[in-house]
C-alpha cells in the first residue's frame, strides 16, 4: 500500500466518494440557481437578496462552497501528482491551491453572513 499522502480523505476510497458527492451537491446547486433565474423572470437586486436571506439558501450555498473547495483540492492534488514530477513546483502549486481554497471559504462565509 502506498503510504498515506497529502490527499484529503483517509483512504483512496474516501477521496473518491468525496469527489462524487461534492460533484452531486454542486450540480444540485447549479440547477437550483438556474431554476431560480428562469422562474423569477426579472432578477432584481431585491429578488436576489431575498433568495440568499433564507437560512436554507445560506446552508445550501455554504455546502456548495465547501464542495467546490474539496472537489478542487482533491482534483488539483491529483493533477499535480500526475503532471508535476518536480517536487518544488508541485509543492508551490499545492500550497497555492490550499491558500486559495481557504481564502475562498472564508470570503464566502463572510459574504453569506453579511446578507
Amino acid at each position: 500500500m502506498v503510504a498515506t499522502v497529502t490527499s484529503l480523505g483517509r483512504s483512496g476510497l474516501h477521496d473518491w466518494i468525496i469527489q462524487r458527492v461534492s460533484a452531486l451537491i454542486m450540480l444540485a446547486y447549479t440547477l437550483y440557481l438556474a431554476y431560480f433565474v428562469i422562474s423569477t423572470g426579472d432578477v432584481t437586486f431585491a429578488a436576489w437578496q431575498g433568495l440568499f436571506a433564507s437560512t436554507f439558501m445560506k446552508v445550501f450555498s455554504l455546502l456548495a462552497l465547501g464542495s467546490v473547495v474539496m472537489h478542487a483540492w482533491i482534483g488539483l492534488w491529483i493533477v499535480s501528482t500526475d503532471y508535476m514530477p518536480k517536487l518544488a513546483i508541485r509543492m508551490v502549486f499545492q500550497v497555492l491551491v490550499i491558500v486559495m481554497c481557504l481564502a475562498l471559504m472564508i470570503w464566502g462565509i463572510q459574504i453569506l453572513w453579511s446578507i
Partner: protein, 232 residues
Amino acid sequence: MKFSIYRYNPETDKKPYMQEFDLDIPEGSDMMLLDALLELKDQDATLAFRRSCREGVCGSDGFSINGKNGLACITPISSLKSPVVVRPLPGLPVIRDLVVDMAQFYKQYEKIKPYLIANDEPPAKERLQSPEERAKLDGLYECILCACCSTSCPSFWWNPDKFVGPSGLLQAYRFLIDSRDTQTDERLADLDDAYSVFRCRGIMNCVDVCPKGLNPTQAIGHIRSMLLKRGV
C-alpha cells in the same frame, strides 16, 4: 513496404533515432509483423527485440506499432499502413532498440500477491470450485503479462511506482474473486490508497490494446465496488 524502426544502443548512440527499411512483401501475404522484423534483422543483424512463442502466448514482443501497442507476432502485415512505425512500449526505460526494462511492471505485479493464499484447513485432496465459481475467473486468468495495456495507460506513465496499472489490477481482481482465496479483505486493504486503484481514470486505453481481448477497466470497476462495499 516501408518500415521505420526505433533504434537506440546506449553504448554507442547519443540519442535514439529511426531507421528506415524496405521490404518486398507480396500482395495478399499473410505474414505477421514479427516475420517482417525477423527479415529486417537479416538485413541488419544489430537490430534487437524480444520474441519467443511467435503465436501470442508468451507476451514477449509487445511494441508500439503505428502508435498502438500490440504483439508483433499476431499483427498481420496486411492490417498495417506503410510506413510501419515500430517503437518500444512507451513509458518504460529502453535497454536497447525495441527491448524495454520491464522491472517496474513486474514490481506492480508482485505487489498484488499473484498467488492463491488460503489460510483455512487444507482439504484431504484439493480445493474444489463449482463450475460457477470457476467461471468467474474467465476473462482474467488469460492475461499473458505482455504489458501492452499498462504501457498505454497515462496514469501508469505518470506514476508507475504507485499506480498498479491495468494488468496488475486485472490480476488483483482474479485473486479477489477466487472462491478458494481467504485473503480478500487484506488484499482490498492493500489497494485502498489514493494511487493503487483510484488513479484509474477510465480512459480504457487498456481495453483498446489488449491483444487477448481482456477488459481491465471492468475488473477495476469491480475492485472499486468491492472497496465501496467494504468501506461503507
